[in-house]
Point group: C2
Chain length 462, copies 2
């Protein structure tokens, strides 16, 4: 489905604000209603982090961000909204009351999703007059980075609404998973909960500390889980004989009395103290904010790595970038020096050399991106192949620097372009300049000719 012009986010804590970021970055205006006195500040804090993270993940900014407003009433927020996302506290009574009010004020064809991580949609929609457009759409934190959203219909939900929702969330860059049976916790939280119960017992029984349990995940199987789930992993473990072999070989082990999973350790003060103290030690002075930034930095690196391999979550990000997200195509109007602005980026930490400054390779990469952006803006489907680049560097800014590339077309012919690029910092200081001889090539790297209109546009810039 096409994206709505306006979305409403009811509740703007960590999860709600994550949804706000997703909508804004897709050019959708968002009205937020959250009665908490600190709601706006907290939401804007999350948005600042999300904004920086999305720019690094996507390598640029959208042509237009949606407009953000905070309203004093729920009715104002949902008025005219094509999509409503409820992210209120995880209590059935609270959510039912809010959803009934959403139901009364939202447009008849609005899609209404609840972010609940485990409450049944049939309960939640029970007080709605038009429950057919309601469903659960359960995201994962941080909502602006992780692709998964679980969709689950209640008894009163129209299957068509779920189909429309799949389209909506895919447009937002997510990976909808339709949970076909309505069960508490859906699919993902069942799995998370299983891990969490076992993790609690391990600490309760002093088998391992909080940090050790986490290490057992992140240095081992956790790396695989970013790539594949349990079933695929075990299929590979089954080797040439496959899944059936694996089940036959390891099935019996399931009967061993390893776990105490159905029980939950009594959350006594002593256990809570133990976990809180060990968790403090693990954090080693890092604030929740520090941990959040570290998490985002890691997730962005992971998603970009998977994107370059077109695997798992990286495939979702890659498809989204190709299909929907475009950095503003450079405007081909030259400035007084005859230069067009071809690229603006914020320098990511992975582009630095051993001294912590912009590496020569990263400079070259900016130049190469600017080449591509110029050809794209001229309406050409060809790609640039630089046969000759002369790169002169005068400074080496660090992570976070905002860099702009401007480009002058020195000459343009059907099969060869001469370009002169400048890379400057936000304050106008020159970082590097480069001159290039480019041949246009096709998708497979074979030399080709520029299209007539693209050539004319580039020649007009000479």
């Amino acid at each position: 489905m096409p994206l709505p012009d306006k979305a409403a986010c009811i509740g703007a804590g960590v999860i709600g604000a994550g949804w706000v970021a997703r909508y804004l970055w897709n050019g959708v205006d968002v009205a937020v209603y959250d009665p908490h006195p600190e709601a706006e500040r907290r939401c804007r804090d999350v948005l600042a982090t999300a904004d920086a993270s999305l720019e690094r993940l996507l390598g640029g900014r959208p042509a237009r961000l949606g407009a953000l407003t905070f309203t004093d009433s729920l009715a104002d927020a949902v008025d005219g909204a094509g999509a409503v996302q409820e992210s209120a506290p995880e209590r059935t009574d609270v959510k039912r009351k809010i959803l009934a009010e959403v139901d009364a004020h939202a447009p008849a064809d609005a899609l209404i999703g609840s972010s609940t991580s485990g409450l049944l949609p049939s309960w939640l929609q029970a007080d709605m007059a038009r429950p057919e457009r309601f469903f659960v759409s359960h995201p994962f934190n941080p909502v602006y980075l992780l692709p998964l959203v679980e969709l689950c219909a209640g008894e009163g939900t129209d299957p068509q609404a779920v189909e429309r929702a799949k389209g909506l969330y895919a447009e937002l860059g997510m990976r909808p998973l339709h949970v076909r049976k309505e069960i508490d916790g859906f699919v993902a939280d069942r799995l998370l909960e299983a891990l969490w119960r076992e993790a609690l017992w391990l600490v309760h029984d002093d088998v391992a500390s909080v940090a050790e349990v986490d290490d057992a995940v992140r240095f081992g199987a956790g790396l695989r889980w970013a790539l594949m789930g349990t079933y695929q992993t075990y299929r590979i473990a089954g080797g040439e004989e496959g899944m059936r072999h694996f089940m036959a070989q390891f099935g019996p082990a399931l009967k061993w009395p390893w776990t105490k999973l159905m029980d939950v350790p009594e959350l006594t003060d002593a256990l809570i103290d133990k976990i809180a103290e060990q968790s403090d030690a693990q954090a080693a002075g890092r604030s929740p904010r520090d941990l959040e930034r570290e998490r985002d930095r890691g997730l962005i690196a992971l998603l970009r790595a998977l994107e370059s391999e077109d695997l798992a979550g990286g495939s979702v990000v890659g498809a989204y970038k190709r299909a929907r997200f475009r950095a503003a195509a450079p405007d081909l109007t030259p400035d007084t020096e005859g230069r067009v602005q071809t690229l603006t980026v914020t320098l990511a930490p992975d582009r630095l050399d051993a001294t912590g400054g912009l590496s020569a390779a990263a400079c070259q990469d900016l130049v190469e991106q600017a080449d591509g952006a110029l050809l794209q803006a001229a309406g050409s489907a060809t790609r640039p192949f630089a046969v000759e680049t002369s790169l002169n560097r005068s400074a080496s800014p660090g992570a976070g620097a905002r860099l702009t590339v401007t480009t002058r077309v020195v000459s343009a012919a059907e099969r060869v372009l001469h370009l002169a690029h400048r890379i400057v910092e936000a304050d106008g200081r020159e970082i590097a300049h480069a001159t290039q001889t480019l041949h246009p090539v096709d998708d497979t790297g074979r030399p080709t000719a520029l299209e007539e209109t693209a050539l004319a546009r580039l020649q007009a810039l000479v």
Copy 2:
């Protein structure tokens, strides 16, 4: 501890062969004993994959690989071995018999580890005359890529042996986790098992298919698990109020009757058929070999991404590379044209442009690496800052190409170097050449002077 000259691997299936790869890449000779008639072929298959994967992960090859031999008897394999790794089938009787034989023939001070994923070390060491040097060292598949190894002592184990083992596995590039209480399944497999049980119920109850369960992991929480475990994740979810707040808020939900985890679904033929068929559909024609290669490709990308951020498993890989693994330092003996070979790499898929060929930025990166290697080989602690690079490209090889950079020192002075590089393919075809003006800089990027001896060595090459 320093690495032994020789290690013995008893059992060389997928796990055993993974250990073989770790030892060989650290320059340790390995003797393998595995009575399976196909053992050598299967082991060499795994080693071929491991070899390519390790080269991509580490960006080069070690100065010397260990020598590999297959023996006809266990006694010959363990003779003179400083470390023995048992990776036999997961049956207590089989392992006990093997370990008693290892015990009888291995040197008195050899460390003896078992790869068991869940059997108790006290049982396994029961028939050993010198059980004090035995422990469990449980790795994760693929052993040559995943850092985690769980160490667990039995009643008869000398605590000093565990300390020595920690040193041994750290030297091999792994992350030892000492499991201090002896329980079935140790820590990691308890967690994996919890997830697996829940995953089985979800498919048994037709809540989700095999592929959907896996998607619920890899598009969501699985991405976080490559970075952090459950406790750290929930600490962040607790926000400014931290872990105690999280426990208070979400603790009660643990009492909800969500799971059936203590029970295991009866592995009827019907359930096994269902899982095997859904798993076939998920694999969509990819062979176990294809899936394995895809897994390695993904894990390498993930580990390299985390390495660039110095986080989680990437920190282990980074520290290992810095401390132990060095690509052979370039030899400063010039060839007949006065060139020294500064770099040899296999082109990784993440260095390609949109046409699938080597990007200009990746070319520049090779040149920059060659600069660094040259300075290092000359014994300089300075780093290169290229103020001017002129790069000429004539071809654009694809992933897997083996590229060599040779470098001619055109002139060398205390504060400025002129270099000429050539990038060639294995068949001698030139891919690109570059001329450069470099300034030596210190660790913080400030211009500095070359050390006297380094300058003399570089001038000798002019």
